[in-house]
């Protein structure tokens, strides 16, 4: 059984030898980010829910705990994770979810993973145990390092335990569908987001807009009357597919680009089918295409693009390049936590 002192010892030894470590638990996101560099450091055994008090809306879990297990426990108490992280066939873990920072369909309406991170315990690249944030909803003591770890892809150290805010499950939920082309779908998603509607997910592809509503019975009834559309059957399965990019046309063998754009951005002039989420702020573009051109276009619109998954990892990394000033700051931040560059080197940006 893995314990924290022995984990610290391994990290210290690796730091001394300048030997990179590749942090892994479920391995569900090996496809994501830059290359997997270094000796595997398996933290899957750091598993289990350490503390859950439903009336606090707070749960603490060891990093290797499977998301599916955590979500089952929350569901038993009528709660859930608001940001709907992808579970990737049940293998995804809490630590991996935080490290990747990925959020699902609810993100545009309920907030992102990092919004729900209250605290982390971690071991930095020097083998020191650190604890940031806590188990309370309001806490502004010290720099917010716990939220900084969200999306850092393990480059700042090994997450060992995470505290998340939970939310009550909505009392009612339904999904409506509308036959609309892409410009019309973008327009209504933008417009509806400005109204006090109980939106909890929007997804458009193949000429159909799917709108999920969650909340009080009365709110759902009123919104249905207001919006019209067709009631969708099997909606839970559909949103699970959206959440994990499993819709049929997003073929796993093919490249999949993830483009994040400001609200109200226009239709992208790319060929082929695509999936729109988050009211149009997130666009999934499959197929081989000129990534550099897509990144230039995304930047011009005020967003960014990444190669989310693909047959090969590009040498310059899958993420939108940073400005020289930001890259320099990233290097300095990395050096704060991992001065010897051993934790998940190259996973976020080459050399970081």
């Amino acid at each position: 059984m893995i314990d924290l002192p022995s984990l610290q010892e391994r990290i210290r030894a690796a730091a001394e030898a300048r030997r990179p470590l590749c942090i892994r638990a479920g391995g569900s996101k090996d496809f994501y980010g830059g290359p997997l560099t270094g000796e595997p450091l398996d933290v899957a055994e750091l598993s289990g829910i350490s503390d859950y008090e439903p009336t606090e809306l707070v749960v603490t879990a060891k990093a290797g705990t499977r998301l599916a297990e955590l979500e089952r426990m929350l569901a038993a108490h009528g709660q859930m994770l608001a940001f709907e992280p992808p579970r990737f066939g049940g293998r995804a873990t809490v630590g991996g979810a935080v490290a990747s920072g990925l959020s699902g369909p609810r993100r545009a309406y309920c907030g992102s993973l990092r919004d729900y991170v209250l605290g982390v315990e971690m071991i930095d690249g020097r083998g020191r145990r650190l604890r940031f944030g806590g188990r309370v909803i309001k806490n502004v003591a010290g720099f917010d390092v716990s939220r900084l770890t969200a999306g850092s892809l393990g480059t700042l150290g090994v997450l060992t335990e995470i505290t998340l805010k939970t939310v009550p499950r909505p009392r009612a939920e339904c999904t409506l569908t509308f036959a609309l082309d892409q410009p019309a779908a973008l327009e209504v998603m933008t417009l509806w987001a400005t109204r006090a509607l109980p939106l909890s997910g929007t997804a458009w592809h193949d000429g159909t807009l799917h709108v999920r509503l969650s909340g009080a019975d009365a709110a759902i009834r009123a919104a249905r009357q207001n919006l019209g559309g067709e009631l969708m059957a099997g909606a839970d399965e559909y949103w699970d597919e959206v959440r994990e990019q499993r819709l049929g046309f997003l073929l796993p063998a093919q490249a999949l680009w993830r483009v994040s754009l400001p609200a109200r951005s226009p239709q992208l002039a790319t060929e082929g089918r695509m999936l729109l989420e988050w009211g149009g702020a997130l666009r999934w573009v499959p197929g081989p295409l000129d990534g550099g051109a897509l990144q230039t276009l995304a930047a011009r619109l005020g967003g960014h693009a990444m190669l989310y998954r693909g047959p090969a990892k590009p040498p310059e990394g899958p993420f939108q390049p940073l400005s020289p000033a930001m890259l320099a700051l990233h290097r300095r931040m990395k050096a704060v936590f991992d001065p010897y560059g051993i934790c998940n080197r190259d996973r976020l940006y080459p050399g970081l």
Partner: protein
């Protein structure tokens, strides 16, 4: 040192550098008035380029810089220090753009919090975080402190309502943090800078998220004959799957102090009252308010009233909003604390604070954000009585340390500043504090931005003598004990 004043006068327009004693006086403190200091000079840049010039000039001269918004902060984050330049962002006060369809506003840091919601109101939108000082406090200060408010249980803190920042480093370098999109590549520096109390960079532009204003809101006023029952009712509301728009508690002394002020009709015989607000569509609110009432009754509420109209809702809230000014009429001085704790520890912590009143010979009243466990004990004292200030500070310190022991934090929304810097040694161990200092150096190698605030030196913690002992290991083992 004074030559920096001449250098600042060369890079800023006429009248934008203050150095006379009379001119500096208004800047000697923020809303933590216990601490006053005169800065070397006050700089009043009018745009981002001037902000960068001030920072570059001070960096070259090795002069510390303290950024200030409206000076409404309660933890001394904007308290000047001798020999430092205080930079007021008050002149950067323009709403640059507001896009109702994208639901965003780009604003300069000196724009008042409430002014954003006022500008968004014609579009049915508003900016959700509402610190009680919202008519005066600026968005730049809100970002620096990660301010909360009455509605953050449902709508989040400042960090949850931001999209992007433009900031200038001490070296005068402009950085764009975050994006108008819902995420940005690289580390989440937006979260790191939010709440960094002016230690990492100076904010020159903020892009905030606006949300649709709820169609209606109603509030339940529930009275209880004991604090413990009121505390339990708070947990019961959450356990019932309700996230109220606001959930506030006032204790008996507060009720007694505010009622003559606002005539809200509060029950004067109650030990505590809860104000629990529901917002949303009319149907939604109707459904939720009945559920809230049922929970309150099951929790043993002695009296439960539901606001019948908007006027009554505002009257119920009037006392909560007037609580701090009303205390000013009851006591010559008061000291407002800001600890946060797990909700289930509310009753126990309130009892412990009662016991401390005897120990310090001072009264303490409680009015706070019960829904998110954020306490605001008000310690009443008279600064003209010898040693009452010291007793009030010691009392406050003990409350904060109790919050940490109960699994909470020394500050829920006011920030550490200079006020709670010693208690940082209780909440964090030396490895975390060292990490904070290293983060600071990654942005500001020479430590010129707001020095001496928010993060104590290890030496200071050793002197303070309240070291956080974790797992039996004595921290700061390398330092001598005093």
């Amino acid at each position: 040192m004074r030559e920096v004043i001449d250098r600042l006068r060369r890079v800023l327009p006429a009248g934008a550098v203050l150095a006379g004693a009379e001119e500096l006086k208004p800047y000697e403190c923020d809303a933590l008035m216990l601490y006053r200091q005169m800065p070397l000079a006050v700089a009043l840049p009018g745009d981002e380029a001037q902000v960068a010039s001030v920072l570059r000039t001070c960096h070259e001269s090795g002069i510390p810089v303290i950024a200030r918004g409206a000076g409404t902060g309660l933890s001394g984050g904007a308290t000047p220090m001798p020999g430092a330049v205080l930079m007021s962002l008050a002149r950067l006060n323009r709403i640059i753009s507001l896009d109702p369809l994208a639901r965003t506003a780009r604003v300069q840091p000196g724009v008042r919090n409430l002014a954003i919601s006022e500008a968004a109101a014609p579009h049915g939108l508003y900016y959700a975080p509402d610190p009680s000082s919202q008519i005066a406090c600026t968005i730049g200060g809100n970002v620096a402190e990660n301010s909360g408010g009455v509605h953050c249980l449902k709508y989040g803190l400042t960090v949850h309502n931001l999209l992007a920042l433009r900031v200038v480093t001490i070296e005068g370098e402009l950085l764009e943090i975050g994006a108008s999109a819902l995420d940005a590549p690289g580390y989440d520096l937006l979260a790191l800078i939010t709440g960094s109390e002016g230690l990492l960079a100076v904010i020159t532009e903020v892009t905030v998220r606006l949300i649709p204003r709820p169609q209606c809101a109603r509030v339940v006023l529930a009275a209880f004959d004991s604090l413990a029952k009121a505390g339990q009712a708070v947990a019961d509301v959450i356990a019932a799957g309700i996230i109220p728009a606001g959930l506030e508690l006032m204790d008996r002394p507060t009720i007694a102090a505010v009622e003559p002020f606002v005539r809200a009709g509060y029950p004067l015989d109650a030990e505590a009252i809860l104000l629990c607000e529901s917002d949303g569509t009319a149907h939604e609110v109707e459904e939720e308010i009945l559920r809230i009432e049922a929970v309150m009754q099951r929790a043993g509420s002695t009296e439960c009233r539901i606001s019948r109209d908007e006027a009554e809702r505002l009257r119920f809230w009037a006392g909560r909003k007037a609580a701090f000014p009303a205390m000013g009429a009851v006591s010559p001085d008061y000291y407002c604390m800001d600890g946060s704790i797990p909700r289930q520890r509310l009753a126990a912590v309130l009892q412990a604070i009662r016991a401390m009143e005897g120990k310090y010979g001072l009264r303490c009243t409680n009015v706070f954000h019960a829904g998110d466990g954020n306490l605001h004990p008000l310690i009443l004292f008279d600064s003209n009585v010898p040693d009452e200030v010291a007793r009030a500070e010691a009392f406050g310190g003990e409350i904060l340390e109790l919050c940490v022991r109960e699994g909470g934090s020394i500050t829920g929304e006011h920030g550490v500043g200079i006020e709670k810097i010693n208690q940082m040694c209780v909440q964090f161990g030396s490895a975390e504090l060292e990490t904070f200092h290293a983060v600071k150096r990654a942005f500001d190698e020479r430590g010129l931005l707001n020095p001496g605030k928010a993060v104590p030196t290890l030496h200071r913690c050793a002197e303070f003598g309240r070291l956080h002992v974790r797992g039996g290991q004595l921290p700061h083992a390398e330092l001598p004990r005093f």
